[in-house]
Amino acid sequence: MIDNHSAHDTKVLCLNRPFGVADTLPEKRFDKLEKRFATILTLSGLVVVILLLAIFLSLLLYSMPAIKTFGIAFFMGRTWDAAASQFGALPFLVGTLLTSFLALLISIPFSMSISIFLGEYFREGAFSTFLKSSIEVLAGIPSVIYGLWGLFVLMPVVRYMEVKMGVPPYGVGIFTSSLILAVMIIPFSASIGREVISLVPADLKEAAYSLGATKYEVIKRIIIPYARSGMIAGILLALGRAIGETMAVTMLIGNSNFIPQSIFSPANTMASVIANEFAEATGITAASLIYVGLILFIVTTIVNIVGNWIIKKIGIEASREIG
């Protein structure tokens, strides 16, 4: 980094010479490094953009054979038969929609409760810390372990239930997957919900309390309306996760390529059919699976952009109220 001679010159330089050390430094070399550093930073900013474009284009390119053969009708086709080279993705679209929305439906009361619990009832204290940490642990458990647990603990319970209800006792299927998915997405909507609830201005709440409102009324009349768009964003982002969630669903949905007849039927989602079949797929089968992946990518991208856009807007609004 530094010239050799400066090492033993410095004593004299620093203590006696009128111009201090400034002149001894190799500033020209710094200049070059400075430019290189700026270039590297800008390039690394570009890298993420290029990476995302490359992901999109690679998916598009490698699904081209399927896009050319089946076009948009791909999503209307009800048969997925590799032996006959017949590919229609409707069963997986239905499977994905059913599992994710069912999971969302199941999770909403719970995630809302946790949001309200942590955002309003118990903002501090040992119990809320405990609940918060537990939710984080829940979010940290790997998907494959949810699958394992679902397979060996939850599945027999569901099967028993199905026998009692008189439906075909597969055990695995949309319902089982949705249950596990619901547990998996609760942490996401809950943490976003908690944050937006804590953004509700205190004076707004205090005004209502001072008018004699009960906590329930404040939550219903002030907090929920105020935090509504943020909670919707949280639910949207949770939906994005549910749509793309793979392992647990793959292990629990029953791997069936037919349109599900009921919520207890085995099925496949877009993600699970890729997980189940891609490793052995070649030719048009692989292209069709990548086509499914492309759609999965586009859908989750849109859901994420909209969700984050809402959250950003709220953040800006909140900071405007404070500032």
Binding site: I2, H8, C14, L15, F19, V21, A22, L25, F30
Partner: protein, 252 residues
């Protein structure tokens, strides 16, 4: 005056084409304290930052006119080289939180990649801390983080850091405004002591402070240099009505 360190000629500065300094011409004599005074927003900080070209960090900041350090044109030097010749002390003490006291003092060398023998850096650290009047207080824990010091001690550490580079001129932008009265007094004493060997340009809001420790005073008002001269003279017989009004507390 015996020798000039810093000299400006018709110097102006602009933010987004808004002129905030208007044709400033003045000079700082060697080994004396020159104070910059004036009401809030008159451009003191801007002027002092133009001296070591720190204003260039702000996009859309422009300057015109001339400024010389030891008769060398500041604006034709490399900013990096220039800044090593000029020390700066900020309003809020800002020691490096990741470094211990020792390394904070020689940060100018360390961060610039200058390696030197241990006794050499020991000497610089000791001398700089002594000059900053901090040696006795910290000599026993030089290897502890600088952020545990009191505000006043931190500010003196920052002065030591600047002094270690043997600057031609030391710029101080309201160095005591974030400190308590006792620390303020301490720093003022220090500045008077440093005068023997160090040229300083001091921005201050505090009229009494300027009177106590400066030799020359420049009075800025709305970006204009209204009056510049020996402090004693300006405080006893101000030439301009606005200077008089400021000194008697009519505004600012």
């Amino acid at each position: 005056m015996e020798g000039t360190i810093l000299r400006t000629e018709d110097f102006s500065a602009y933010y987004n084409n808004n002129q905030v300094l208007k044709n400033i011409t003045f000079s700082t004599p060697k080994n004396l304290v020159t104070a910059l005074m004036g009401p809030s927003g008159c451009g003191k900080t801007t002027l002092i930052r133009c001296v070591n070209r720190m204003h260039e960090l702000i996009p859309d900041a422009k300057v015109s006119g001339k400024m010389y350090l030891m008769d060398k044109d500041i604006y034709s030097m490399e900013p990096i080289v220039l800044r090593r010749k000029i020390g700066m002390v900020f309003q809020k003490p800002n020691p490096f939180p990741t470094m211990n006291i020792y390394n904070n003092v020689i940060a100018g060398y360390k961060l610039n990649g200058i390696k030197m023998p241990r006794d050499n850096s020991d000497a610089i650290v000791e001398q700089s801390l002594k000059s900053a009047g901090l040696w006795n207080e910290v000599k026993d824990f030089l290897y502890r983080k600088g952020t545990f010091l009191s505000g006043g001690q931190q500010q003196r550490l920052c002065i030591a850091r600047a002094l270690a580079m043997k600057p031609e001129i030391l710029l101080l932008d309201e160095p005591t405004s974030a400190l308590d009265p006792k620390s303020t007094a301490h720093i003022e004493e220090l500045i008077v002591e440093l005068k023997k060997t160090q040229t300083m340009l001091l921005v201050t809001h505090n009229i009494a402070q300027a009177a106590r420790i400066s030799d020359y005073t420049a009075f800025l008002y709305l970006g204009e240099l209204i009056e510049f001269g020996p402090t004693e003279k300006m405080f006893t017989v101000p030439k301009d009505r606005r200077t008089e009004e400021y000194l008697t507390g009519k505004f600012g």
